[in-house]
Symmetry: C2
Subunit: 387 residues, 2 copies
């Protein structure tokens, strides 16, 4: 662990079949008015919405609702939520849904009392938040983004065709998150797979950087092994509780900063996907899946030892008899097979991207990278390789 | 992850070579009077004491000192600290040292304003803390116990020959802990090895339980692999920064509850060692090392599949050609070899235990266990097997 770090994660996690029983005691810590944020109605179908309303009513809360949050939450919806918070003096923003809903809740939380234009200040200029933050709580219904235990919030500005993410300090993290793996049973298989690969990608983007010896890399390898194992079990039987609970917890620790400590990190696959998402509105994890194989085939030679280690420690490839080149490629091949097992796309075409979009995506992608610093040309090549 | 859990760990960690630079800003969060708790003088030799005094003076703090905390902190010392807190109205207890010093600081924190006898209420009857808790901060100089990021506190009542531990809720955890791996360079090799095995044992005692599929087990395997790797590097070169930083972080996450989530856990090796420690005052990790091989040889058949997995995933034993029995024993043999590599004892005799002590230790040990519930006879057999 070569680089100094600060680790502080004050989100309280209630995990398991009885997790929702803790909501009442948490609600008692906040004032009377709750902004309930949710998506396009799956929480109504599943019955969770009714349970939430009952608990909120029993706690004597005044409920204000913001429904219909999209899978790529929009700046417009976020601003609508900010208005509702201000006008109703909401004391708590309660997100019920997946990462998009929680991302949106966090964005509302910092924007409601923002002086000036939040988009410009917080998602373009990355200014520090200097205004009142409205506390957020979460009830998670989909595993993948890790938004339930971090400060990340990705928002799409549809007018400007930009999907920008940023990471806020611990005072913006959800104060509490309720994680019942059973709530994810109703997530359609494709969405489940997309969420699994989102987590997988978070772990890879933290793993593939650095040449130092770092405990965090060993932890990531463990989480990747568990996630692969449980993904296969859940594909066979989506109501395998142990599998779904492991997937949920892998997603949470996959991006609660503990799997990124003292790491330089990469994140270029995410940067590319954000722009792919802005142009195609594809499911985030599916976009990541379509890009990943091409990306890692493009950059592996710049960090080949880590890719050999990946093949060996994550996929049990016997690397003893292979050249570094062969071993590294064997690991990427395993990753590529895993994407196919998940039923996720291996090309941008399958996600509705057109050839004309590629230069636009490449141009608008934030440039970064881990073992290789990526420029516009590099990105365009990767996009063409997976088109 | 079969069992429901709550995860909440609000300790703020500053890690690395520059970690101490954050002390001033942390001190600003507390009142004027600081109880500085430390051990038998190694912090004076290393120069850390002078640095602390300088920072505290610059922050305008009134300093009260409690020095000489022993490696098994005593109830008497703890009560002396509690008196100092009360008489000086200390606003912060700042522990500078290893786990013993931090354990003692936490014990002082809950005992200072305890109504009644703290020993009886908090370490015998395990009552909930209903009095004011004085906040604790820590500057860690030795890796092993994990006390820097949890609510654990083990205290030895010398009059009663009892070493009792308990785990307090998150409001007793250190508010902040400063972890600079360089501070551990001056720890003598035997103490370093003892700390490493303490961590190793924490991980094993959480790992060896349950038959469910649990992400936590994969995380533990990763941490055990990292710890083994870094222990060997640090034995060769104690000033290998990466190795010492990994050891320090393994120790922290090895007992900050994240490696115990949704696990039944064992802890019987610790229970036995606590009584061994009360009778011999041996270094905690050395005591654990002396007991572990005999203990796991005694219980492995009750959880054999996990021991096979341990051999394969932690020690890279090729288990394909072995019977379960052989594979499990091969893993325990690897553990036993690792203890020897660390230069730690494999028998109680080496730690000063006498044959007469064994029944007394067995009788006074709290009975528990993971794959096997241990009674007094079981414990005595284990003790004889490693005498």
């Amino acid at each position: 662990m070569k680089f100094d770090f600060t680790y502080f994660n004050p989100t309280k996690i209630y995990f398991g079949k009885t997790a929702l029983e803790n909501l009442s005691s948490e609600l008692a810590n906040y004032g009377d008015t709750v902004l309930l944020v949710y998506g396009k109605g799956s929480v109504k179908k599943s019955g969770l919405y009714d349970k939430m309303i009952k608990i909120l009513n029993e706690a004597g809360k005044k409920i204000v609702e913001l429904a219909g949050i999209k899978s790529n939450p929009s700046y417009k919806q976020m601003m609508e939520g900010a208005r509702l918070v201000r006008e109703n003096h909401a004391d708590l923003i309660l997100a019920v849904g997946g990462g998009s809903v929680i991302d949106c809740a966090k964005a509302i939380s910092i924007s409601a009392y923002c002086k000036g234009d939040p988009w410009q200040r917080y998602w373009i200029d990355y200014e520090e938040v200097d205004n009142e933050i409205v506390p957020v709580g979460a009830v998670l219904t989909m595993a993948g983004t890790g938004s339930e235990m971090n400060g990340g919030s990705v928002i799409t500005n549809e007018e400007k065709m930009l999907k920008n993410g940023r990471v806020y300090p611990p005072n913006v993290y959800p104060k509490f998150s309720i994680l019942n793996p059973e709530y994810t049973y109703t997530v359609p298989k494709y969405q489940m797979a997309s969420g699994i690969f989102d987590t997988f990608s978070h772990l890879l983007e933290q793993y593939f950087s650095g040449t130092d010896d770092n405990t965090t890399d060993y932890v990531i390898e463990g989480v990747l092994r568990s996630l692969t194992h449980s993904a296969r079990a859940a594909l066979k039987n989506p109501e395998d509780y142990e599998a779904r609970s492991n997937i949920m917890w892998c997603a949470t620790i996959g991006l609660n900063t503990i799997t990124g400590l003292s790491k330089e990190q990469d994140w270029e696959v995410h940067m590319i996907e954000h722009q792919l998402g802005a142009y195609t509105d594809c499911a985030h994890g599916a976009g990541l899946a379509a890009i990943s194989t091409a990306y890692y085939k493009y950059i592996y030679k710049f960090g080949i030892d880590k890719f050999v280690r990946f093949a060996k420690n994550v996929w049990d490839v016997n690397t003893d008899t292979l050249s570094k080149e062969e071993a590294a490629m064997a690991g990427i091949e395993k990753l590529s097979n895993f994407i196919r097992e998940l039923g996720l796309p291996s090309s941008l075409r399958e996600l509705g991207a057109t050839e004309e979009m590629l230069p636009l995506i490449a141009k608008s992608t934030i440039q970064g990278g881990g073992y290789k610093q990526m420029d516009e040309n590099d990105i365009l090549t990767v996009l063409k390789n997976c088109y």
